[in-house]
Amino acid sequence: MSDFSEELIKSTTEDDQGERCELSGTGMHFPWLQKHIETVATGGKKEKDFAQTTSACLSFIQEALLKHQWQQAAEYMHSYLQVLEDSDSCKRQAAPEIIWKLGSEILYYHPKSNVEAFNAFADRMKNIGVMNYLKISLQHALYLLHHGMLEDANRNLSQAETWRYGEKSSSQEVLINLIQAYKGLLQYYAWSKKKMELSQLDKDDYAYNTASQNMLDHSWKTSVNLGALIQIPGVWDPFVKSYVEMLEFYGDQDGAREVLTNYAYDEKFPSNPNAHIYLYNFLKREKAPREKLISVLKILYQIVPSHKLMLEFHRLLRKSEKEEHHKLGLEVLFAVLDFAGCTKNITAWKYLAKYLRQTLMGSHLAWVQEEWSSRKNWWPGFHFSYFWAKSDWKEDKALACEKALVAGVLSGKGCRYFRYISKQDHQVFRKKIKRMKKLVKKYSIINPGL
C-alpha cells in the first residue's frame, strides 16, 4: 500500500492543481507560502473558528497517527468529517482526498476495524465527487490484495475499469491504465499459478490440454491489460517483468525484445536501471552477441557503476577483441571499488589484481596511471590503511593477499597495507605472498627503478 501511494501522490499533485487552487505549476512547492497567500487573499479578515478548529483537528489526527493512537485518531476523524460541508469550496473539494488518506490509514490499523468497515468506507468515499473514484478504487483493491482477497480485488478493479465520467482528463486516463495493469497483474498471478500446475502435469495427461488452453486465454487478456500501461512513460517494473515472462513463454521473442528495448531506450521514460537489467538478462537468455550485451551494460554502467553486473561486464570487456573495451574493463573495475559497499568484494579485487598485471604486461601503463591519478589521494586511506590490512588479514586472508598485491602495484612497496601483509608468515599463504612480492617488484608503477 505504502509504495503505491507515492505513485498516486505524484499523479494527484499534477492533476489536482486547478481544483485545489494551488498556484505553483513549475513543480516547486512551498506549503507555507500557500498559507501565507491565503491569509493575504482574505484581506486580513479573521479566519473563522470553524476553519481554525478543523485545521487543529487535522493536526491532532496526524499526531495521533504518528503515535499509532488509532482510537484517538478515529475520535478526531469523527469531527474532521465536517470539512466535507465547509462553505469554502476550495477546502471542501480538497477534503475527500485528505479524509480518504487519513481514514483508510485509521481503518487499516485500528484494532476494531475489519474488511467490511473498510469496504463501506471506500465505497462511500468513492462517490464523494468524481475526482477520486479511480484512485480510491485502486487503493481499495490494493487493500483487498493485502488481505488475500484476490477475487474481490479483481472485481473492484473491473468495476473501476468500466467507470467513466464525462470527458476523461489525461490524468484519469493514466489511472485507468494503471487499474487495467493491476488487473493484468492479478491475471498474471493466476496464470503463473496455472503454469506451476501445468509443470507438474504429465504432457500426455488429459488435463494438460485444457489447462494449457486455459493459460492461453489468460495470457491474451493479460497482454491487453498490461500492454497499454507500459506504453506510457513511467516506472512499471513489475508489469514489464510479468508481461515479458508471458510473451517469452509463448515464444513471442520479438514482442518481448521490443517491449524491453522500448522500456530501456525510450527517452520519454525516466532513467531506470532495472530496464537495462531486464533487457540484458533477456538478451543473455537469447544468447545475443557479446557486442550487444556490452552496449546494454555500458548504459547501466553509467547509471549504476557499482552494480553487481559490472563484474560480468568486466568479463565481457576482457574477452572482447577491441582495445577500447580492454581499457573500459579497467575503468569498470576501479569504479566498482570506489564504492564502500564493494570494499570486501574478493572477486573484484582478484579481477583487479589479475587485470592490472595483464594490462601492465601489455604495456598499457598509461591506462593504469590515468585511473590511479584521480584516486591516489584517497584510495590509500580508503582501502590500503593499516587498519584495513589488520582487519582484512584477520577476516579474509585471501582477500588481504589480493588487496596487498593491488596496493603494492599502485602505491609501491612502501604502502602500509602491502608492508603489513608481506610481513605476515602463514603456512598456506607463504607461497602466495612470495609471489606477490615478486610481482610487485616487477610491476609496481611507483618508481620501478628504486
Binding site: T54, F60, Q71, S79, E85, K112, F121, R124
Partner: protein, 614 residues
C-alpha cells in the same frame, strides 16, 4: 429598579412560546383584510403563494386576492412566471410565514430559557429581556410604532412620537402595549382584536414573492439588503449582547466572560440555534447568511455590541453596582483569587487597590447608556487586572525577586511545619503551570472536536438543496462509521456548567490549595501598617498611545518577564480573552493607581520606584 411586567402566565409560555413569536409579527403583514373568516369567524389572514388570503386558524382559502399596490416593482411578467415555477416546486418546503426578527426572538427565547436553567431568576426572561426586545423592535421600527419599516421601505421617519427617550418610566405606553404575546403571555389567538387595532403595514406583493424565493423567511432578502443609517441590525452575536445587558440589569452573577464560556461549552444556544426553531419555520437562502454562525463569540466584540445596543435602545441608567453586588471588583477579585489558587489574604490588598483607583465607585461601575460617553466596566477583566497589579506589587515579577522571595518562604516552611505556611510563589507557579497546561490541552482538544454543522442543513436555493442534503447524509453516515471505532464510553461528556474552572484541594499534591497560606513572608510591619517588602514597581505601559487607533497600548510578549507572561496567560485563558486585552486593562489600572507618575514625569522612562504603604 426593575422593569415593569404586564403579564405572567408562565405555565403556558414555555409550551406555546414559539407560536407566539410568530403571532407577534404576523399581525404586521396580513391584517389589511379584516373580514371574519366564513368558516371559523376568526380574523387572522395569511397569504397563499398565489396572493390569495387564507385563514391561519382553519386554513380556509378565500377567493379574495391581494391588491398589487406597487406595480412598478414587478419588472416583467416573465420573471414572475419563473418565480412562480420555482415556488411550486418548493411547495413542500412551505412552512409558516415568518420574519427574520421572529427568528432572533426565538433565539433570544432559547437563550433566556438556558440562562434560567443555569439558575438565573425568571424575571430576566419575563421582564428585562422581553422589554429590551420590544424596545428594540420599536426603535428599529419593526413593530410597536406608527410607521413600521415594512410599510415604507427605506424611508422610515424618525420616531417623532417619542420625544423623551431618556426616561424609561415616562413611556408607559410602550410597556402597557405588551398585553399581547411574545415572551410572556399566551392566548393571543383568542384576542384578535388587539392586532386589528394596531396600525398594520401593507406588504408589496412583488416583494413578498421575490423574498420567498431566496429565503425561508418572508423578509430574509430585504433584511440582508437593509442598510439604514442609525439602525442597529440584529445579528446572532447581538443576541448575546442582549442577554448580557439583561444579566447586567438584573445584576446576576454571570459575567460576560462566563456567558461566552457557557456558549462555547454549549450550555447556551448560539451556534446552530436555528436548529431548534419550530419545524414549520423553514430556513434557506438568505436566512443562511443571517442565522448560520461559524465562530464563537469574542469578548471585545460582544462588549462593543452591548454598548451599541444599549445606546440604540436609549436605555436609562442601569441599577447601581454596589459593594454587595457580584460584579463589584471586590467580589470578583475574591472569586478570581479563589479560582487561581492565591491566598485569601491577598483580598485585603486588592480591596485597597480598588479603593485607591476608584474603580469600586458606584458611578464608575454602573452602566449608563445615556451618559455622554457610554461605557461600562469590563467587570471581570478589570478584577483580574487588579489581581495582576497586586501580584506585581508583592512579587515585582521581574523573574528575580519572586524567586528569591520563594526561597525565603520555602526555608521558613521547612522549619515551621506546624505554622500557617508562607505563600511560596515557586510552588504555586509549579502547581498552576501544570494545571493550566492540562486545561489548555483539554480545551484545545474539545475545540478541535467541536461539531459545527447543524442537523438541519442550510442551503442557498432549491437548486443546491439536494446536494447539500446528500452531503449532510454522507457526513452523518461517515460519522456513524467512525464513532463505532471510538471507545463506547464517551470520553468527553458535556461538562456541567460552573463559574469555576479549577478546583483545589489539600489532599492532591498536584492540586495543592494555597488559599490558607499567609503573606507574612512578603509583608513587613512599619509602625501601625503593613508594607510590602518589595519597594519596587515597574509599569506595564510607559506611554499610552494617543492616536486614533483606539487601542491604548500594545503587548509584545517578549518584552516582558516570564512570570508576567505566565500570569497574563493564565488569566486571559480563564476569561478566554486575548493577552493584549488583559495587558491593556492592567495598564489602565496602573494609570489610575500611579496618576501622579504619569502626569508629572512623562519624560522619565525605565522602571519607576515607588513605595506603597498599606
Amino acid at each position: 429598579m426593575t422593569l415593569e411586567v404586564t403579564s405572567n402566565d408562565k405555565q403556558n409560555q414555555s409550551a406555546t412560546c414559539p407560536t407566539f413569536h410568530m403571532e407577534i409579527l404576523k399581525g404586521i403583514s396580513k391584517k389589511e383584510f379584516k373580514e371574519r373568516c366564513t368558516q371559523c369567524a376568526a380574523v387572522s389572514w395569511g397569504l397563499t403563494d398565489e396572493g390569495k388570503y387564507y385563514c391561519t386558524s382553519c386554513h380556509n382559502v378565500t377567493e379574495r386576492s391581494k391588491e398589487v399596490v406597487n406595480t412598478g416593482a414587478i419588472p416583467n411578467t416573465k420573471i414572475q412566471a419563473i418565480n412562480r415555477g420555482l415556488k411550486r416546486k418548493r411547495k413542500l418546503e412551505k412552512g409558516w410565514d415568518w420574519y427574520v426578527c421572529e427568528g432572533f426572538q426565538h433565539i433570544l427565547y432559547q437563550q433566556a430559557e438556558a440562562l434560567k436553567t443555569l439558575g438565573v431568576g425568571p424575571e430576566l426572561k419575563n421582564e428585562v429581556l422581553h422589554n429590551f426586545w420590544k424596545r428594540y423592535l420599536q426603535k428599529s421600527k419593526q413593530a410597536y410604532c406608527k410607521n413600521p419599516v415594512y410599510t415604507s421601505k427605506r424611508k422610515a421617519p424618525v420616531l417623532e412620537d417619542n420625544p423623551s427617550h431618556s426616561d424609561w418610566d415616562s413611556e408607559p405606553e410602550l410597556l402597557s402595549d405588551f398585553s399581547c404575546p411574545s415572551f410572556v403571555e399566551s392566548g393571543a389567538e383568542s384576542q384578535p382584536d388587539v392586532h386589528t387595532q394596531k396600525p398594520f403595514p401593507i406588504i408589496k406583493a412583488s416583494q413578498s414573492e421575490t423574498a420567498s424565493i431566496c429565503s425561508g423567511s418572508v423578509d430574509g432578502v430585504e433584511y440582508s439588503l437593509r442598510k439604514e443609517k442609525g439602525i442597529v441590525k440584529m445579528t446572532v452575536p447581538r443576541t448575546l449582547a442582549f442577554c448580557c445587558l439583561a444579566l447586567l440589569w438584573q445584576r446576576e452573577t454571570i459575567t460576560l466572560s462566563d456567558l461566552l464560556r457557557f456558549v462555547e461549552e454549549d450550555h447556551i444556544p448560539y451556534i446552530n440555534a436555528f436548529q431548534h426553531f419550530p419545524e414549520e419555520m423553514k430556513l434557506y437562502g438568505r436566512d443562511k447568511g443571517i442565522f448560520a454562525i461559524e465562530s464563537w463569540p469574542n469578548y471585545e466584540d460582544i462588549y462593543k455590541k452591548m454598548i451599541e445596543i444599549a445606546t440604540f435602545l436609549d436605555l436609562p441608567r442601569f441599577p447601581d453596582i454596589t459593594e454587595d453586588c457580584y460584579l463589584h471588583p471586590n467580589m470578583l477579585c475574591l472569586k478570581y483569587l479563589m479560582e487561581v489558587n492565591l491566598p485569601d489574604e491577598m483580598h485585603n490588598l486588592t480591596c485597597q487597590v480598588v479603593k485607591m483607583t476608584g474603580i469600586g465607585e458606584v458611578d464608575f461601575l454602573t452602566f449608563d447608556p445615556i451618559a455622554k460617553m457610554a461605557k461600562t466596566a469590563k467587570y471581570d477583566v478589570q478584577a483580574v487586572a487588579v489581581i495582576v497589579v497586586v501580584l506585581k506589587l508583592l512579587f515585582l515579577l521581574d523573574d528575580n525577586l519572586e524567586w528569591s522571595l520563594s526561597n525565603i518562604a520555602e526555608k521558613y516552611n521547612e522549619k515551621n511545619k506546624e505554622d500557617k505556611p508562607w505563600f511560596d510563589f515557586r510552588k504555586w507557579y509549579q502547581v498552576m503551570k501544570k494545571s493550566l497546561d492540562e486545561k489548555k490541552q483539554k480545551w484545545e482538544e474539545t475545540r478541535a472536536k467541536y461539531l459545527w454543522k447543524s442537523e438541519k442543513p442550510l442551503y442557498h436555493s432549491s437548486i443546491d438543496k439536494s446536494v447539500v442534503c446528500k452531503r449532510r447524509e454522507m457526513v452523518v453516515n461517515l460519522q456513524k462509521q467512525f464513532s463505532t471505532l471510538v471507545d463506547s464510553t464517551p470520553t468527553i461528556g458535556k461538562k456541567s456548567p460552573s463559574s469555576f474552572q479549577f478546583n483545589w484541594t489539600e489532599e492532591d499534591p498536584d492540586r495543592t490549595c494555597f488559599h490558607g497560606h499567609s503573606l507574612q513572608g512578603v509583608l513587613t510591619k512599619k509602625g501601625q501598617s503593613l508594607t510590602t517588602k518589595n519597594s519596587l514597581y515597574w509599569l506595564s505601559t510607559q506611554k499610552f498611545c494617543r492616536s486614533y487607533c483606539k487601542h491604548v497600548t500594545t503587548y509584545e510578549e517578549s518584552n516582558f518577564s516570564l512570570s508576567y507572561q505566565f500570569i497574563i496567560n493564565l488569566f486571559s485563558f480563564l476569561l478566554r480573552i486575548k493577552t493584549s486585552f488583559l495587558h491593556e486593562e492592567v495598564s489602565l489600572i496602573e494609570k489610575r493607581l500611579f496618576k501622579t507618575k504619569y502626569s508629572k514625569t512623562k519624560k522619565k522612562s525605565s522602571r519607576s520606584r515607588k513605595v506603597r504603604k498599606y
